[in-house]
Amino acid sequence: MARAELKQEATEARIATLDLPAGGKWATSVRTDALARLRAMGLPARRDEYWRYTRPETLTQAEAPAAALFDSKEPQVFESVDRLRVVFVDGVFDPAASDDLTLAGVEIERLETAAKADIHWAKDLYGVLEARGQKPVDRPLAAFNSAYATDGVLIRVTGAASKPISLIYTHKSETSDAILHHVVKLEKGAELTLLENGPAAARFNKVLEVEVADGARFHHIRAQGRDHERRAATHIFARLGAESQFKSFTLTVNGVLTRNEAVIEMTGDDAVAHIAGAAMGDGAFHHDDTVFVTHDALRCESRQVFKKVLRNGAVGVFQGKILVKEGAQKTDGYQISQSLLLDGDSQFLAKPELEIYADDVACSHGSTSGAIDMDALYYLRSRGVPKKEATDLLVLSFLAEAVEEIEDEGLRDEIVSRLTGWLARRGG
């Protein structure tokens, strides 16, 4: 059988037991379109170029591989932050654990509820940004998500949100397979901080579509952690208007397989997009950051900062691209991906790319892999800092450039405390 047919067959096998969630006109229409996109592409397969470094089988197979629950007494991240909580347990909204979904300057609705309407503002974004992000590279798991997502939140921000909205993903079933889809629309000049944390499910497929209108600001801080055996495929699709800001940071610790894709399109002049990630893996850990930033306007600035600390056979992947379209003059694009390999067993696979069709731009990219700096380690030890503590300090120092992308000091401290906690739990 030809590859295309095999793919088609695998895709049909995956969706055979799933029904498109019921809904009103708008939701049915966007879901049907998404399903057609999925069928045209087929789910990712091992020999797809875009999946060269990450095997997609466990993300696409019909049954989610089981993932043991991680029992930890440690408090959850962001506990000390004043925020509006929206809790999903294995992908199912938990109203008892969630706050009342009201916040000044913000409309928050569950997808499940909003989908029942016949007309909804989200129709212009849901699956729309995802569909735009399918070119030039297929992202079938995202189309799959747009078709089959059972719930999520639709957030429309008209002013400056007084506190962050915090999506908390609890994992309670060892075989859960969760599909969530969120849409965030920031109107002109609006501002929102979105937090996400938690293992979510044994297998988690999540799409976040974000429209940042002119002069609006979106901050996103995510902590994917805890359960060691969890799997996740996530996508962020963002479209940026003039003078808007998009800043996203992701911390990933543990997890047998994580693929985080981000597709950012800068369509308004003078926009700023920063996307950063810090990942720490020990043992069975495969972490893939796949980023695609498109500059399609004047004087936009983009930064990609990805750092991975790997040990005991952990694998890190980075596929990052900056595409500067014709006419996107004065683009300032920066991309760095680095790994700190704490032993000889770990691997970092990087594919940095620049594709530039404008002649007056400044773009740079770099990718490195290295070990702990022995001179720095000796220096710290000579001041009395024990080896383990000194090594941990150097790990934090390595991750700092990514972590410093978090503007809010309180949120940054929350992330740093996660990092130090993770390091402290590990032997030398």
């Binding site: 001179d375 220096y379 030890r381 000579s382 001041r383 009395g384 800092v385 024990p386 120092s397 700092a400």
Partner: protein, 253 residues
Amino acid sequence: MLEIKNLHVKLEAEDKAILKGVDLVIEPGTVHAIMGPNGSGKSTLSYVLSGRDGYAVTDGSATLEGEEILDMEPEERAAAGLFLAFQYPVEIPGVGNMTFLRTAVNAQRKARGQEEMSAADFLKVIREKAKTLQIDADMLKRPVNVGFSGGEKKRNEILQMAMLEPKMCILDETDSGLDVDAMKLVSDGVNALRDAGRSFLVITHYQRLLDHIKPDVVHIMADGRIIKSGGPELALEVEQNGYADLLAEAEAV
């Protein structure tokens, strides 16, 4: 304080002997200087004493207040009271200078079974000490040595020394890369720490530094050995005549 006996050291990677029988006794409260031509083993001596990797001790011993230090980890030597001011202080991006110092101070206190210093107490002490070394708040906040000038790096070394209050201080070419004013500042910092319970070993190429930090004993090192020891006048002799005569004299013996 520090007693080095018949110390033989080779470079692990190249199997090359660097120190060929160093003997040195430093009494409490004294300042010793080591001078010598390039490649004589001065810096190696400081690295071996502080526990840098890459050197193999093939013979001899070094004791700090009677305790053998050559078997200790670098952090244990530091907790025991040894301090090396580096010739080339290392830059550590992402670690704040203040965080670094507080971690070091408390790690040593912990190792010695003392209570950790509170953030408030630490801040008070460091501000005071930083002021005398003309280290401003910005330098304390910045990542360790990153973007520091040569002089700032050396002053930062002395600040660390002042905070850690070691018993045995080794200064490896602390004067290199310093202008006259910076040298005065650094020397004043060192002199302020001189007391009966603290000893210094000052490694330098130039007599100039010894005008500021007055040594009790001056040693001349050549080819991995101390070939001559004397009073401060020995440094002046080197400054005027170079090492040739001293080396010839040593050969003759």
